[in-house]
Point group: D2
Chain length 132, copies 4
């Protein structure tokens, strides 16, 4: 049985500074949102990523993929769903869906690797593992 939630959703309001001359959320900024969602999912497991880093346990992004279906605009209130789709000894995969009023704007996936301060792959700490 999973000890932790494996998915959650957050609300994010698009900031003016995040939008580009087209008046829409710049595509690079979506990755900041995904990161915020991962942090909140972890927090709901009782783990603060800040504390992990303090102990020398880091998660680096090794791969991202994102399809932008419809633009998000300045001041939009968005719902971002994040879900852990796979966890191995040293890697976590997430997928994401971004919505505005129930309309899908974007789908994304990321692969994270667990590393130490020297960048060497290390096992994901026990308190984060999903298994029974």
């Amino acid at each position: 049985m999973a000890r932790h939630p494996t998915s959650c959703e957050i609300q994010i309001r698009v900031r003016y500074a995040e939008c580009d001359p087209m008046g829409v959320l710049h595509h690079s900024k979506y990755f900041e949102y995904l990161e915020v969602a991962r942090t909140e999912l972890l927090r709901r497991s009782g783990v603060r990523y800040r504390d992990l880093e303090g102990r020398g346990i880091l998660f680096v992004v090794s791969r991202v993929e994102c399809r932008f279906r419809r633009p998000a605009r300045y001041d939009d209130e968005l719902t971002l769903k994040v879900e852990i789709t796979r966890m191995t000894k040293a890697r976590i995969d997430h997928k994401y869906e971004l919505y505005r009023d129930g309309v899908l704007l974007c789908e994304a996936s990321t692969v994270l690797a667990c590393v130490d301060r020297q960048g060497q792959v290390i096992p994901i700490p026990d308190e984060m593992t999903l298994s029974e």
Copy 2:
């Protein structure tokens, strides 16, 4: 015969503000670099993206994919290679490789769609097409 260069490379110095608490270039910032490379490739064809937008011809990113192999660090001087891999009536695909001193840090690809100010797909303007 191609009228335009289909690839180029640019140099980019990593800024302090672009790096995160791990001391490395934040993964969201790579997409700003890719955009700079696309702009420069276009400029070498004699086209300024600024002018296209002024005429109501916009390129929106519809898909990105990126593999981060090794971190880029603050103050690194990087070489970013960009190449057009495919162009259809209303879509351009690019691929990218980011290097530091000949070492590959990152590989990426993007898909752009040509749209008007209302977001409707329109044909890529003639001066950008690659064919004879």
Copy 3:
């Protein structure tokens, strides 16, 4: 009697991507936070800045000043207070105080000018004026 609130406070959580290699909120990012606070203060007057821009009424920042007293760190939950300190026909001055757990981190002030799409100074619209 003022028709509108002239001050408010918002909560902001510091994102990982906003922090620099020192592990603290990069000084350039404070200005994004100030902008979010101004937007929320306006919203509490029943005005959406997005709608103003849609009508061709823009506010441009003409001056900023900021004293950074203590660093804000990744994942900190901050309280940002914003207050309108002066409003003339075409200009609004705000001051700001940023706190973490009651400790002052930063004080700032900004001057905004009301302009049209060509950048020409225009009067602040009636629904935003503070007077009786």
Copy 4:
């Protein structure tokens, strides 16, 4: 006699991702540019800020002030002049002027403090001091 240059100028091209829905460089981004200019001024003295940080010598921004006179636009090529206006035992003041084609866009000033990794004020290292 000063051992080091106390001023320099750099060229910066405005990126698309740095511009906001008004189509102009967002005011928060100017501070990234100022930082790039400080880094280059230091480099011309033979000092890499990266190396200083590696030795535990950090410069934190304690105050900024900026007047935005005219907007910078996407793809503009700008000239940024930076000058050290004052240096004390543990503090450096800079001023800045940003130009496009000889037209002044922005004037700014910053105050930096030299600190160690714990944020305690320490003396500016000898190789950076300006005096004879």
